[in-house]
Amino acid sequence: MKYVKKVLGEDLRQYTMVVALAALIIIFNIASGGKMITSSNFQNLISGNAYVLVLALGMLMVIVIGQIDLSVGSVAGFASMVMAITARQFNLPWYIAILIALVIGMIAGAWQGFFLSRLGIPGFITTLGGMMIFRGGVIWISNSISVPVPSELKWFGAGYLPEWGPAFTGMNNSTLLLGIIAIAVYVTAQIKKFNHSGDVTGKKEEFWPYAVRIGIVSAVIGYATWLFGSGRVGTSFPIPGLILVILIILYYLITERTSFGRHVYAVGGNKAAAELSGVNVKRTYFLTMLNMSLLAAVAGILFVGRSTAAGPADGTSWEMDAIASVFIGGASVSGGVGTVIATMVGGLVMAVLNNGLMLMGVGADKTQVIKGFVLLAAVAFDVYNKKHRG
């Protein structure tokens, strides 16, 4: 046990969900006769759920500041519908279309942020209003009819990295390159960390835990690279997945390594104390809500890219999936607690459940029931753990 702790860190509980996720993948793989762990299924899993995970990134921050955003699905639908309609009407190129969607997302976010931060109306109510306003807006402007989006957008929602270079690798070389870069970045970071390990405490750590960590992570990344890269020719790690990964890195940095991120946790943990530490609480509220709706627009773009059309019902109940991901990832309902990585794991647990049950041919009705139980079980486990700490 002591050795395991050296490798993984003191708090092993944070790996509970990772283990659960791995167990689910393995169980489903066995139950479905090996259909779970295949290149194409993992590609589907990522491109089919990227939009929910993107929403969960924003929702995490909203929940950490102690609020909730019920409008994300409607905002996603609205932003992508406005994009689809204007692009079609004025024959706009795809990049202008995307810009329009993002701007709409930001305006929607500023709207919600204004009511929350300036007028002090609770986020639940502000965004309940937003949910109705933007959902109504989608149906209104679309006349309830789906509108095709510029075909280039399909690349964002369902595209793959290019094929190039030698064929002997047996993989998509773009994916291979990404995998190699990921491993290289991790290895350098670990070695750098090891070299600095004695700087503060004065006591150099042992190297072997670093080596084990490097070994494990490299193996996982390597395997994932092979899995995603060795699918049918023309497929690779999906573009929406790549966008998601970039956003995960970005939001990891924002939440962990910037003042704004610290302020988000401070406001959620103790608003009054944050205020007395020089945190601009109103600004933090405002930016968090703005960011959420911006990400909702990104999610909308990814989704309509995959669907090739914006529909009037797009985004319905997405907020619930995003919220569930955040809570399965261990965030606290009262705010202040939650991390980007855990949220992504939480989202993947939901996604794998969905996917695995579908592969097994379980109906949508029962899938819903099972997801509900998993949400309760995950949160109950978390609460139990916190109660029995130490």
Binding site: S259, Y265, A273, G278, N280
Partner: protein, 509 residues
Amino acid sequence: MSDGYILQMKNITKTFPGVKALSDVTLEVSEASIHAICGENGAGKSTLMKVLSGVYPYGSYDGEIIFQGKKMTFKNIKDSERAGIVIIHQELTMIPELSITENIFMGNEIVEKGLINWEKERKKTRELLEEVGLHLDPDAIIKNLGVGQQQLVEIAKALSKNVRVLILDEPTSSLNESDSENLLRLMLGLKKQGITCIMISHKLNEIAAVSDYVTVIRDGKTVDGYAVEAGRVDENKIIRAMVGREIENRYPEHTPKIGEVILEVSDWSVEDAKVPGKMLCKNSAFYVRAGEIVGFAGLMGAGRTELMRSLFGKNMGIFRGGKMKIEGREVRINSVREAIKNKIAYVPEDRKGLGLNLLDTIRKTVVSANLDVIKTKGLLDFDKERAASEKYRDSLKIKCRDVGVGVNTLSGGNQQKVVLSKWMFTEPDILILDEPTRGIDVGAKYEIYKLIHELADQGKAIILVSSELPELLGMADRIYTIFEGRITGEISAKEADQEILMKKMTITA
């Protein structure tokens, strides 16, 4: 009844995983007495009371509880309350939006034919309020009462349950002097009616004033116990027993090195944001010099905290004029951020409510008011963060396993040190300390006093707000008194004594 004791707790041992919280503790309480329990924070006083009131059910501890001659096996608080043992917690547990009557009868409603008989409840409430010396409308809403009044309502509630033993956990910690006196008088009154009080307290003067017997607990063991002669208690003896070492002086020796005026405030006025027209500060004027510790004395509600928070970036009330000069130049500070930039720091009185994010770790808390300093290329640098927190852990002797642990795992004294670290890390010139030693045990207090002296010696201007007059007299170089939002006096600490201060704190000059 065995030997005149109403309550005996014999050889109580309570273990938590890995920790022996109580070991072989014995407590014997005479009928109709006031029994004080002293001990440092974490000594096991609260655990003992939780065992007594059934929060830790029978079976989860060893030893026995004999109450009125019978062995008790409480499974929960309801059981102990039914037997006549009621605990009043440090944090009040009433529902702020409901009336006094509703709170007193919460869970115990007088029900007739399935409906609540409000008339009877009100009548009974009025009687109970009389008994505790409150002249209030039974329909008054709790949140509109002062803290002292709420405390008394809690006691009235306990009386409604036919209490035999009343446990008060730090009953005066959030009360001002007059409310405290009131409460102590009430305890004496209850004693006359035959009700036994167990009082957990740090305040030795209060113990001396009312209690009949003192039990001192240290490290989960009873270490001392003796009867108190009326109104006289050997404070040093108790302190010695509590901390297990001699504290020859409760306030460290210090020779001030006073320099130029750093902060000068004139004509400062603040209006209450909630009650229009009510002034929290009226034309306040004062100054603080480098290396000087300036005390602010005032009763609760006098406007001390309001003045300080208003200075700290207009954080409280509505600013109604006034000038602030720092090192001679006039500054206008409109947010906490600007205040921090102008090298002002404010350590709030309510540590858990305002000073800390209890979800954070020590290292995150220490740097939280000055994040820009630990950035490398625009991103927070965890190495710098760790280095900063380790530095304060060493210099302030913060007791913790690692700076990565949550601040919620620390004792009150260590938490306060973390808060101080956080503000020292902003490298302030002006440090406002609002009740810096509240709820902290004697040993930790001493360390904090030494720290304050060190900071003063570094040339910082220090404002010390405190409700404890001995603390002000022992620590400050100069003291201002405040009454109803007005500065009513300025006096050198050498010339002051408690009587002089109290006079200025209760009447306008």
